[in-house]
């Protein structure tokens, strides 16, 4: 009995604390068990593939696995002195294998990314590599004089790095040289930073427009009787139910030079018939279309927050002598801030990642960073660069979240 003087015991004699921990543990385990399928689902279908994909931003073992010998000798090469005969011999051996294994295209594509124009150099040389004999360096140069160019070898050395900052550097308009140093991209190739800024600018403007258009609508919805407001909410959601192509066609019909809107401008003398506004296939088009499609994401959280603000607050303010404006600004507005925060964050983050709409109506200056991720995913097949740009975006979005948390507070957000 002496050891129980300090701690309470349960009816069966076990210390109360342990008993409590046990019972809590059991209920937690049960709750966790229930959430397990979802957790596994997210892990398998979301976290793992994305993480896996994003590693491509800095991990590229293609050259190293397909050209193992070359990779090994290039490691010891200082990238300044002339390539040796040994390097040439190993390279030819690797080329023979990769031709046979049909992997030469991958190797060539990889090196071509470092030094444009080398793709055919590799595929051509690989075709005749089998017949080459020592001295190999001479044989190579005889096949194509470009093999005498040290830049080709430097490009291979860069390509042979398994963990490389090159893609991330490229994602922010820097480039990595053979010796590992990083410099700014040539001026006529700089594009990503401009795009990141433009993406920010467009996302910000879209958020602002969504807010300006959505706030009064959400307010109106929240003051209407439930039946009417539900009906109108359906209208708000209508864009979601329309197929993308129908929607795009509608925008084009509305916004193009010979479209409805421009016709109206001409009728009302706001534009000359031969000098109509360019409302589509440029940044304006992107802004209009994205505001339209993202508006519901602003309205819904706003609506759900406003719905919970009792009218008595504004009435109280007015009864105390506040004008309509003061009552709104000092009393109503601050209480709708959680909805604004949620809506703005939602719209902003969705806008940052948008690409279909800008691709369709954005023209040349309405393209966003995601359009280029898409481009590298589907057209140029440079998935590493796509991953790098995706990673930069992800970091940026997390940063935005952090800022938001600092300024407004994440727990102050009501998503609905």
């Amino acid at each position: 009995m002496s050891d129980t003087t300090t701690s309470l015991v349960a009816a069966d004699g076990t210390p109360l604390k342990r008993k409590l921990a046990q019972s809590l543990m059991r209920s937690r385990a049960r709750a966790f068990g229930l959430a397990l399928p979802l957790l596994a689902f997210i892990l398998v279908l979301f976290v793992y593939p994305i993480a896996n994909f994003l590693t491509q931003a800095f991990y590229d073992a293609r050259f190293a696995t397909l050209m193992p010998g070359t990779t090994e000798v290039l490691k010891d090469w200082d990238a300044v002195s002339a390539p040796t005969e040994e390097m040439a011999a190993v390279l030819v051996a690797d080329l023979v294998v990769s031709k046979k294994e049909k992997t030469i295209g991958k190797v060539a594509t990889r090196v071509n990314r470092e030094l444009s124009g080398t793709r055919s150099l590799f595929t051509k040389t690989a075709r005749s590599a089998k017949k080459m004999e020592a001295p190999y360096m001479e044989a190579l140069i005889k096949k194509d004089k470009d093999w005498g160019d040290i830049e080709v070898w430097q490009a291979m050395k860069t390509a042979s790095r398994v963990y490389t900052p090159a893609y991330l550097a490229a994602a922010v308009d820097l480039k990595m040289l053979a010796d590992g140093s990083i410099v700014r991209q040539d001026e006529d190739r700089r594009i990503h930073v401009i795009l990141f800024w433009r993406t920010l600018e467009i996302s910000f403007l879209v958020t602002l427009f969504c807010f300006m258009l959505g706030y009064p609508v959400a307010y109106m919805l929240s003051t209407l009787p439930a039946r009417t407001s539900n009906l109108l909410l359906i209208l708000v959601l209508l864009p979601f139910w329309t197929s993308l192509l129908v929607r795009t066609t509608a925008w084009i019909a509305m916004l193009q030079a010979q479209g409805v809107l421009n016709d109206l401008f001409v009728v009302f003398g706001l534009a000359a018939d031969d000098d109509r506004f360019s409302l589509i296939y440029n940044k304006t088009g992107t802004l209009i279309a994205m505001t339209h499609i993202l508006l519901p994401f602003m309205i819904l959280p706003l609506y759900s927050v406003m719905k919970t603000i009792p009218p008595s607050y504004v009435r109280a303010a007015k009864s105390m002598g506040a004008t309509n404006w003061t009552a709104f600004w000092r009393v109503y507005f601050p209480q709708s801030v959680p909805g604004i925060g949620a809506g703005a964050l939602l719209v902003f983050i969705l806008a940052i990642g948008y690409y279909i709409t800008p691709a369709l109506v954005g023209g040349q200056d309405g393209q966003m960073i995601s359009n280029f991720i898409d481009f590298h995913m589907r057209k140029s097949l440079n998935w590493n660069l796509a991953a790098a740009m995706g990673l930069v975006m992800l970091v940026f979005v997390l940063f935005m979240f952090w800022i938001y948390d600092r300024i407004v507070g994440i727990d102050n957000m009501k998503l609905g």
């Binding site: 007015k318 002598g321 506040a322 000092r330």
Partner: protein, 366 residues
């Protein structure tokens, strides 16, 4: 009405009607004068139109017909914020994003009052409701009663002459409610303000008010001082609604010398004071307060009609005894007697005779 119809009404509802849907009237032909300094309570069942009247007075609803005058001036077209009426809402409506002090300072700020003056007034108002130490808190950090007091202070801090309160004590427990009832009346009288108070708690109405307006179905059934209302209800709705009440139904046999002879449905005959009955043969509902029933004949007038009653239940409540009787077929007939030494104790099953003074037994509409 006790009030004279001259100009000294501070608030006047003049033939006011209100309809929300254009089909039914929620307020029907409301005429009401409230003199300066009065504490008037609107009492009535849920949905009887009390809040609607208050909202029309505050300016948040417009009257469909008729006029509302404040200090002799029609306020139909004056927006709420220019009416200078203080208001306490049922849910208090304290601004959750402001501290208590900021809440109180709000009406002063919108009046462009200087900072030092504002602070002084806020402090005084907080002290008045004994919440001086709570200025820095948010409303969510206060108990219900504390919030209520802040709401009251906020409605008073800008010194309005008229304060409206819509069931301000509805959310409080009984003890706190009683304490607050007292505080509100004390403050109202000390400050000399006119108060229109809405409740559906009749005890609250009786204890706090100078006058009580009983609403039903959009119409004021009776407006009188609490004692008059209780003792002389003008119709059976008021009699039923205010306080505990026994009713017996029957037909008027005769009306003579302000005494009506009522033949109850079981054939017994009793005396009653005719209130809103006039003709022989009319059906009536007589109303007797439980504490006015006597079963000691020595206390009744000579020749008073008596009724037989069977004791069904006796409930001991400390200060009083509550006896349930079967009287003329009504098995819910209650009698309250003071627990005094000379009081007869009744036993269940006993059959006794009961009676009352004719003026305590009011013959009302059926």
């Amino acid at each position: 009405m006790a009030l004279d119809e001259t100009n000294n009404a501070f608030v006047r509802f003049d033939r006011v009607q209100k309809s929300y849907d254009g089909e039914s009237l929620v307020v029907k032909d409301l005429n009401l004068d409230i003199p300066k300094g009065e504490f008037l309570t609107m009492l009535g069942p849920s949905g009887s139109g009390k809040t609607t009247c208050l909202m029309m007075l505050a300016g948040f609803e417009t009257a469909t017909h008729g006029e509302i005058l404040l200090d002799g001036v029609s306020i139909n077209n004056i927006p709420p914020h220019k009416r200078g009426i203080g208001m306490v809402f049922q849910n208090y409506a304290l601004f959750p994003h402001m501290t208590v002090a900021e809440n109180l300072s709000f009406p002063l700020e919108v009046r462009n009052m200087g900072k030092s003056e504002r602070e002084a007034k806020v402090k005084r108002a907080l002290d008045m409701v004994e919440m001086g130490d709570f200025g820095g808190r948010r409303p969510a950090q206060l108990s219900g009663g504390q919030q209520q007091r802040i709401a009251l202070a906020r409605a008073l801090v800008f010194e309005p002459e008229l304060v409206l309160m819509d069931e301000p004590l509805g959310a409080l427990d009984k003890q706190l409610r009683e304490k607050m009832q007292f505080e509100i009346t004390r403050l109202a009288h000390n400050l000399g303000i006119t108060v229109v108070y809405v409740t559906h708690d009749q005890t609250e109405a009786l204890t706090m008010s100078d006058r009580v307006a009983v609403f039903n179905d959009g119409v004021i059934q009776q407006i009188d001082a609490p004692d008059v209302l209780y003792e002389q209800p003008k119709n059976s709705f008021v009699a039923q609604f205010i306080g505990e009440n026994n009713t017996l139904e029957g037909v008027i046999e005769d009306i003579k010398n302000d005494v009506a002879l009522v033949k109850l449905d079981n054939g017994d005959v009793i005396d009653a004071k005719p209130v809103n009955v006039s003709a022989k043969g009319e059906r009536t509902r007589v109303s007797i307060r439980p504490e006015r029933v006597e079963f000691r004949k020595d206390r009744l007038k000579k020749g008073a009609h008596l009724l037989n009653a069977e004791v069904l239940e006796v409930i001991y409540m400390g200060d009083i005894l509550r006896t349930r009787l079967n009287v003329a077929g009504n098995t819910e007939f209650i009698v309250k007697t003071r627990n005094a030494p000379d009081q007869t104790r009744l036993t269940v099953g006993e059959v006794i005779e009961i009676g009352w003074l004719p003026e305590d037994c009011r013959a009302l509409d059926a």
